[in-house]
């Protein structure tokens, strides 16, 4: 269902004199109202209008909310007046991988197409190793977008770099151009449960993925549109991820909301491979004064120093 249609329906509904807003009831939220198809149930429901007034309407007007679907064309616009930014506190990451699991679950990307990785890093032999979650850094001067021949991947006004897999030709130039190995390719037909496969594709959800196209971390704009944080951020029990709007100069990790500029200044925030000149939108806080010792997992145990070459 296209957003414009919903809009008209709503206007139609409002014309009938029923100011309406979000719901305080079991119906997830009311959304598209088709007045001609409403069955009056006689059961009244209370709702809160945008003005804070409580209104009562017939339950028949309530319909379960259809997933807000942002079409590939609409997704190019970006969320107005926002500039999303992420800060990852390496001192708090202990490789619990909840971020990874939530990401994998919500994007249905599977172990061969990880959008988010948690890597063992060690800068020098004498320094202690640490865990570093990495994903697409949504660079302000993205080398991947530079090289795309068909405008399939693009930089939005809200800072997010997305991929339109309806447009992508699968040349994989963006993958070699990205110095952070953030992009992944669907080498074979991806396997989904039926309801996922039938979902309307949107670049904002990156679901469902298509064979022969590139995908990557999308900063969950479907969530931020709802005022909610990306899945990795909300899944982390240690508050490793801070997410927010650079224009507002505030980031939140779900527990606390702090000023972005203060956080980066006080904790010596940096960006990975700054000298690449890509201007990432993801910052790291150094793994100093860690709250727990580093422990190898089954993948890194016998590998020695990963980062040293």
């Amino acid at each position: 269902m296209k957003p414009t249609v919903q809009h008209n329906d709503r206007r139609e509904f409002l014309k009938k004199g029923l100011g309406i807003a979000a719901v305080a009831s079991s119906v997830t939220v009311l959304h598209a109202f088709q007045t001609d198809s409403v069955e009056i149930t006689g059961e009244m429901v209370k709702l809160l209008s945008p003005e804070g007034e409580i209104v009562e309407i017939d339950k028949g007007f309530l319909k379960p909310i259809p997933e807000v679907h942002i079409s590939p064309e609409a997704a190019r616009e970006g969320i107005p007046n926002r500039r999303f930014v992420m800060v990852i506190d390496l001192a708090r990451c202990k490789n619990l991988r909840k971020c990874h699991d939530a990401c994998e679950k919500m994007h249905h990307c599977g172990p061969d197409n990880e959008f988010l990785k948690v890597l063992k890093m060690q800068d020098t032999k004498l320094a202690a190793p640490y865990w570093q979650p990495t994903m697409c850094f949504h660079c302000d001067e993205p080398p991947c977008v530079k090289v795309c021949p068909v405008d399939a991947t693009y930089k939005r006004e809200d800072g997010i770099v997305l991929i339109d897999t309806d447009r992508c030709i699968g040349c994989r130039f963006c993958m070699v151009a990205c110095p952070y190995s953030a992009r992944t390719f669907d080498w074979s037909e991806p396997k989904f449960p039926l309801e996922v496969a039938h979902q309307h594709y949107s670049p904002e959800t990156s679901v469902p993925a298509k064979m022969g196209t590139v995908s990557k971390c999308d900063f969950c704009p479907d969530m931020t549109r709802k005022g909610e944080m990306p899945h990795c951020v909300s899944a982390c029990p240690n508050g490793v991820f801070y997410f927010g709007d650079e224009y507002e100069d505030a980031v939140s990790n779900g527990e606390e909301t702090v000023r972005l500029s203060e956080l980066l200044r006080d904790r010596a925030g940096y960006r990975y491979l700054e000298d690449m000149g890509t201007k990432p939108r993801v910052y790291y806080l150094p793994p100093a004064n860690r709250s727990f010792p580093f422990e190898d997992d089954e993948f890194t145990k016998n590998k020695g120093h990963e980062h040293e070459k």
């Binding site: 090289v147 992508c168 994989r172």
Partner: protein, 448 residues
């Protein structure tokens, strides 16, 4: 009286040349050759259809080694296609008249390989069904868009450079080729454009050839420089090099010369052209190949020595793998057998005899193919972010059987096109050869 005799003698000679160089039907060996190539291509096509159905997953490429031998093969085809501009343009403009019998061979190689370069890049696409997006949504900022533009331009110029000098020959075929089928005759008639040796026609043709010879040089440099930029515009160690454009072009001329030598040898054997492709031609080509190899050696030293001297962290993993690591046997074989030994052998007059030249040319071609492999593949196994939690097969790219076969069938396809073109058209320009011989007899300077 004397005059008449000369004309008669030259007329006989003209007939002899025409007869010698007329395209001939395949012999038994020719038929076997074509059949084998067709079978290879048919199986390759079958595997490609499988790739369309099941995705690039049938190859060994994965997220880290995201470009594989398809791209290496693409670079190889683009490289070898540069021979057209070398023989038809650079040697023409520098007045090397001995090149005359070699121009047709090199233009045929150029056209066949540039066609397959374009095809191979489509084979590498995840979504070939969306090829039209490249035109409909073209982003002018992308080196791929530049490559599409420059490849199609180069293809058109190469076709013209093959076709224009062919027109007088087509007129000869139209008038003298009798044993061919009807469609073949009609083809000659249409393509000959009613050529009647009119001075005005000859003037226009000569002028057009001259213009094309100049035009193709920047386009040829463009095509291979842009191809090198597919790598050099990224930040990856091993590709992040300012040397890549000239490095690629010098390598391309070298393998192109190797390709012409190999083709010369085979055509000479197959069509008994010893009088036209003489030892002298091999000698000149040998000298040319030495020169081109030395230039390539120079760029190789720049490409490997300078970063190795600095050993920046990211570069060092890549270079160490090439010099001492898992790719070192291939790397040193390619450098020694594909470059150093050819230089040493071809320095000597004896080495420039047809058969040793043929062996050297094959070494150069095979070496050049694997050199492209070494340029494209090892870099991708050294990402900046460490590769962890990935299956072993992702870390060491080893192409699958089907991938090898599809790649092999594109090479077979290019050979097939070369074979068919040589079956249809004279592999050595008839009209030009006659012209040169007459000019030599009369002691006139050759108009070229």
């Amino acid at each position: 009286m004397r005059n008449k005799v000369t004309t008669k003698a030259s007329g006989d000679r003209t007939d002899a040349i025409t007869m010698d160089l007329m395209p001939r039907p395949f012999g038994r060996l020719g038929h076997i050759w074509v059949a084998v190539l067709l079978i290879i291509c048919a199986i390759g096509l079958y595997f490609y259809i499988e790739q369309i159905r099941y995705g690039l997953g049938i190859t060994a490429m994965r997220d880290y080694s995201t470009w594989g031998i398809y791209i290496a093969n693409f670079v190889f085809f683009v490289a070898i296609s540069l021979v057209g501009s070398l023989m038809s343009a650079i040697l023409k403009l520098s007045g090397a008249h001995w090149r005359t019998p070699l121009t047709r061979i090199s233009e045929i190689i150029a056209v066949a390989s540039i066609l397959f370069a374009a095809l191979v890049i489509v084979v590498d696409m995840g979504r070939p069904d969306r090829f039209m997006n490249v035109l409909l949504h073209a982003r002018i900022q992308s080196p791929i868009t530049w490559d599409v533009i420059v490849i199609s331009t180069y293809l058109v110029i190469s076709l013209l450079l093959l076709y224009l000098p062919l027109i007088p020959d087509l007129a000869i075929l139209r008038d003298h080729h009798k044993d061919g089928s009807k469609w073949q005759h009609n083809l000659y008639k249409v393509l000959a454009l009613g050529w009647s040796h009119h001075p005005e026609q000859e003037k226009i043709l000569r002028r057009s050839e001259q213009i094309l010879a100049i035009l193709i040089i920047p386009v040829a440099f463009g095509i291979h420089t842009v191809t090198s930029w597919l790598f050099a515009t990224t930040l990856r160690p091993g590709w992040d090099s300012n040397n890549f454009g000239p490095y690629f072009i010098s390598g391309a001329f070298m393998v192109g010369a190797g390709g012409v030598i190999a083709a010369m040898y085979i055509f000479r054997k197959a069509y008994s052209l010893d009088n036209y492709l003489t030892d002298k031609h091999f000698d000149y080509m040998g000298k040319l190949l030495v020169l081109l190899s030395l230039v390539y050696l120079y760029f190789n030293i720049n490409e490997y020595f300078v970063p190795a001297y600095k050993m920046k962290a990211a570069e060092s993993a890549h270079l160490k793998q090439l010099f001492f690591g898992s790719y070192s046997p291939l790397f040193w074989s390619v450098q020694i057998f594909g470059m150093v030994i050819p230089i040493l052998v071809l320095m000597f007059r004896r080495g420039r005899k047809p058969f040793p030249m043929f062996v050297i040319a094959i070494m150069v071609i095979v070496g050049a193919w694997f050199k492209r492999f070494l340029i494209v593949i090892p870099t991708l196994s050294h990402p900046f972010i460490p590769m962890t939690r990935v299956p072993e097969s992702w870390q060491h790219y080893m192409p699958t059987f089907k991938e090898w076969w599809i790649t092999g069938s594109t090479l077979a396809g290019a050979l097939l096109i070369i074979t068919f073109l040589s079956r249809l058209f004279p592999i050595i320009p008839i009209a030009e050869t006659i012209e040169h011989e007459e000019a030599a007899r009369k002691g006139k300077p050759i108009l070229d």
